[in-house]
């Protein structure tokens, strides 16, 4: 087990370095890294029954940094591995041109940053991981070099840097107050008034990076401007990393700091994001913008964990609790959104533009891609048998169990809005006109189909992931944050 964690942390970085050295072999290196990591994860998940801690360099936490894997980390690592494998297979970059030489190393760096964040237990280390993630993401967003993409990348960078600074400020305050950066050491601290400010700053910073409702303006232009494989990574994984840190912060490091007002604010912003994202997605004419605003909406679901987590849920023996439901949603959304963006990429390449009207007749030209898009849509709408449904079910059950059914409004209305804005592309694909799309090889269509099927299987076989998530689940997740 002691070899798995280093592998997970270091191999993507090594891959990136190799890709810098040999730009032409980028895809080969990428697939090699994918195989190694998938194998490592298989072994990890197989053998994981209690959280595994690895103090780096042998130095115990207050001094050194520790890497830890529990159910939550394993789940997100798994999500990253599956999505990245799909994206690396689907990425069309060949040779050593400008884009190819940059895409492969940046993608692997992004993967490395994700793994570093999911494994790390140290606040400052999380900050450096977030920075690496942001730089790689901004570079990928600007990869196409078009005026729109560049402006979107700059705006993304400005928002993200402000987020990082706020987070750094919070970390500095925490260290200054308690002299400890490790997540495990923080719950034992003697509470200080400055902790409120520190937590507020950190949370605000992470909200921006997760693109929650009022701070989401950067996401849609950035994700729709980026090339398809890049926007798949950006939309499916990057916001999840900062949300992961929020989960760690609020359910492991500072569970006692939560106040009803704060929880209610998070829930309200989450519900607002669901409705706002849905309405905006309805208004878009370009498919990638529809999917990007769908991300804004789906991210709103995640923040329902604050008002719902615990509450009365623990009282019902069978209630899995919102915490697991939200994680399920993050996983299902990751898979579905990656599949959708890859499909959008296929159609953009085949039709020349990504307006929804260009999709007319796609059902005949690219049947597998339309089927994949439909499966992903089913998961986003939260219809059975998809992972999205399991998540929605767990969340709505917790809402009712917690005696706060109004929190169930978000997921339910979100499901209907998702049905509304995802219906248009699917219906266009079924339009009777002869498709003017250039034929797309079935091999390329297989990747999004696999990812979309992943989202559905997450629903069908939801027992194993559910049990995985219980390993090392912070008990605050059951008892509630206050």
């Amino acid at each position: 087990m002691s070899l798995i964690l280093p592998l997970l942390a270091a191999v993507p970085l090594l891959g990136a370095i190799a890709a810098v050295l040999a730009p032409r072999a980028g895809k080969g290196i990428g697939l090699g890294v994918a195989i190694v990591l998938l194998a490592a994860l298989a072994v990890l998940v197989g053998g994981l029954n209690t959280p595994v801690v690895l103090p780096l360099g042998g130095w115990e936490p207050p001094l050194g940094i520790a890497l830890r894997v529990d159910g939550l980390a394993a789940a997100f690592l798994g999500l990253a591995a599956v999505v990245m494998t799909g994206v690396l297979i689907a990425a069309p970059y060949r040779g050593a041109g400008r884009e190819a030489a940059a895409f492969w190393p940046l993608a692997l760096l992004l993967w490395g940053a994700l793994n570093a964040i999911f494994l790390s237990r140290d606040l400052f280390n999380l900050y450096v991981g977030l920075e690496l993630l942001t730089l790689a993401a901004v570079a990928l967003a600007a990869l196409s070099g078009s005026a729109g993409a560049l402006a979107a990348a700059i705006r993304y960078m400005v928002f993200a840097l402000m987020g990082s600074l706020l987070f750094l400020l919070g970390v500095a305050l925490t260290y200054a107050a308690h002299g400890a950066l490790d997540l495990a050491a923080l719950p034992g601290r003697n509470p200080q008034p400055t902790d409120a400010l520190a937590a507020g700053l950190m949370t605000a910073g992470l909200l921006v990076k997760t693109a929650l409702f009022p701070f989401h303006a950067w996401l849609a232009p950035a994700h729709s401007g980026a090339p398809a494989p890049a926007s798949a990574m950006l939309s499916a994984l990057v916001p999840k990393a900062s949300f992961y840190i929020l989960l760690r912060l609020w359910f492991e490091a500072l569970p006692d700091l939560g106040r009803p007002g704060f929880l209610w604010l998070m829930g309200a912003l989450g519900t607002a994001a669901i409705l706002y994202g849905g309405v905006m997605a309805l208004r878009q004419a370009r498919l990638k913008l529809v999917i990007a605003y769908s991300t804004v909406a789906q991210i709103g679901y995640l923040f329902l964990v604050f008002p719902l987590a615990g509450g009365g849920g623990a009282a019902q023996p069978w209630a899995a609790g919102a915490w697991t439901g939200v994680v399920f949603h993050a996983l299902a959304h990751g898979l579905a959104k990656a599949a959708m963006f890859l499909c959008a990429g296929l159609w953009l390449a085949a039709a020349g533009n990504d307006r929804i009207e260009a999709l007319r007749g796609a059902a005949r030209a690219t049947p597998m891609a339309v089927f994949a898009f439909a499966l992903a849509a089913i998961s986003l709408m939260g219809l059975p048998p998809s992972g999205g449904f399991t998540a929605k079910y767990l969340m709505v059950t917790s809402a009712f169990a917690a005696g706060a059914p109004y929190w169930a409004l978000g997921p339910l209305l979100g499901g209907l809005l998702a049905a509304a804005y995802l219906y248009r592309p699917i219906a266009a694909a079924f339009a009777p006109v002869e498709p003017e799309l250039r034929p797309v090889p079935r091999g390329q269509q297989a990747v999004p189909l696999a990812l979309a099927l992943g989202a559905i299987v997450l629903g069908l076989a939801s027992a194993p992931p559910f049990d995985l998530l219980q390993i090392g689940r912070p008990e605050a997740a059951a008892r509630g944050v206050e």
């Binding site: 002691s2 090594l14 990136a16 810098v20 360099g57 207050p62 001094l63 190393p105 730089l135 008034p193």
Partner: protein
């Protein structure tokens, strides 16, 4: 007495900062920013943080200043009307007040100073900061170098397709006998000596890979600006090897530690064997310095461009 000095210093720092923020023209803002950087280095000296002072002066003031000035050169001089001032002022003041209150409300805490000091010798470096950087929080430092690499890849990706393959930065045309050419011949040797010394001293006295690397980067920039040597092409294997040498060695050592840990209880990922920790740290620092120098130089030079 020292309080008066501190107050004056802080006044100078805040004044420079305000000028940099609200200066009429961008050039003035850049110049004030460099001055502000120097003052902040002085402040670090007051806090007995010599490594940080060096870093702030070299990177904070120096390199960032060059970046801004170089970018200014390419910008049209457009007068600039910023947006509404009320909301930003509110936000800034609020944050400053909150931080000020928090600073005063902070409890007395010794932090990790004593713990680090008595563990540093074991880690192979007397200078506690280097010990923290290269031993205790080695993972942070490793990620940091990767961040540098990522930034460079991002910068190179922003070149235009037709310019891909050219050396990084703008081709320089300089008069062979001019002042710049003169400086180009005199300063580099001094800079090289200072840089290597900084890295060597890093293990016991203030200094270290980053500060040394920055000085060497400055030397490299001076040489290429003076047109004395042509930077290698972006796609050249040698350049790329040097770029990744530091992190590669660092990761290699880390992995060896991980593999050893399978049958040796002492070893671990990122752990340097006790016996010759000092020499290993020095070796890693040298390789890091090399990579950091070239990366910083390329970063400041900017993406390859085919014409002025």
């Amino acid at each position: 007495m020292t309080l008066a000095f501190d107050l004056v210093l802080c006044a100078m720092i805040v004044g420079a900062a305000i000028c940099a923020a609200v200066a009429g023209t961008i050039f003035a803002a850049a110049v004030f920013f460099i001055v502000y950087g120097i003052f902040v280095s002085l402040a670090w000296l007051r806090l007995d943080a010599f490594d940080v002072a060096l870093a702030e002066a070299a990177m904070g003031a120096g390199l960032t200043g060059i970046l801004l000035l170089r970018a200014l050169g390419r910008m049209p001089a457009s007068e600039d009307r910023p947006g509404p001032a009320l909301a930003p002022a509110l936000a800034g003041a609020g944050l400053a007040l909150a931080l000020g209150w928090a600073f005063l409300a902070l409890p007395e805490s010794a932090g990790l100073g004593p713990v680090v000091r008595n563990a540093a010798p074991g880690a192979g470096a007397e200078n506690p900061v280097t010990a923290v950087l290269l031993a205790f929080r080695a993972w942070d430092t490793l990620l940091e170098t990767i961040v540098l690499l990522a930034a460079l890849l991002g910068v190179w990706a922003l070149s235009r397709d037709e310019a891909w393959g050219l050396p990084p930065g703008l081709p320089q045309r300089v008069r062979p006998d001019g002042v710049l050419a003169g400086f180009g011949r005199i300063l580099p040797p001094i800079g090289a000596v200072v840089g290597v010394y900084l890295v060597w001293a890093g293990t016991s006295r203030p200094g270290g890979a980053f500060q040394g690397g920055t000085v060497l980067a400055a030397v490299a920039l001076l040489v290429s600006m003076a047109g004395l040597a042509q930077a290698p092409r972006v796609t050249s294997g040698a350049l790329r090897l040097v770029l990744v040498a530091g992190p590669l060695v660092f990761l290699g050592m880390a992995f060896i530690g991980a593999v050893l840990s399978l049958w040796q209880p002492g070893a671990a990922f990122l752990a340097l064997p006790e016996a010759h920790a000092k020499s290993l740290i020095l070796g890693i620092e040298l390789m890091l310095t090399l990579s950091i120098a070239v990366t910083l130089a390329a970063l400041v030079a900017g993406p390859p461009e085919d014409r002025a």
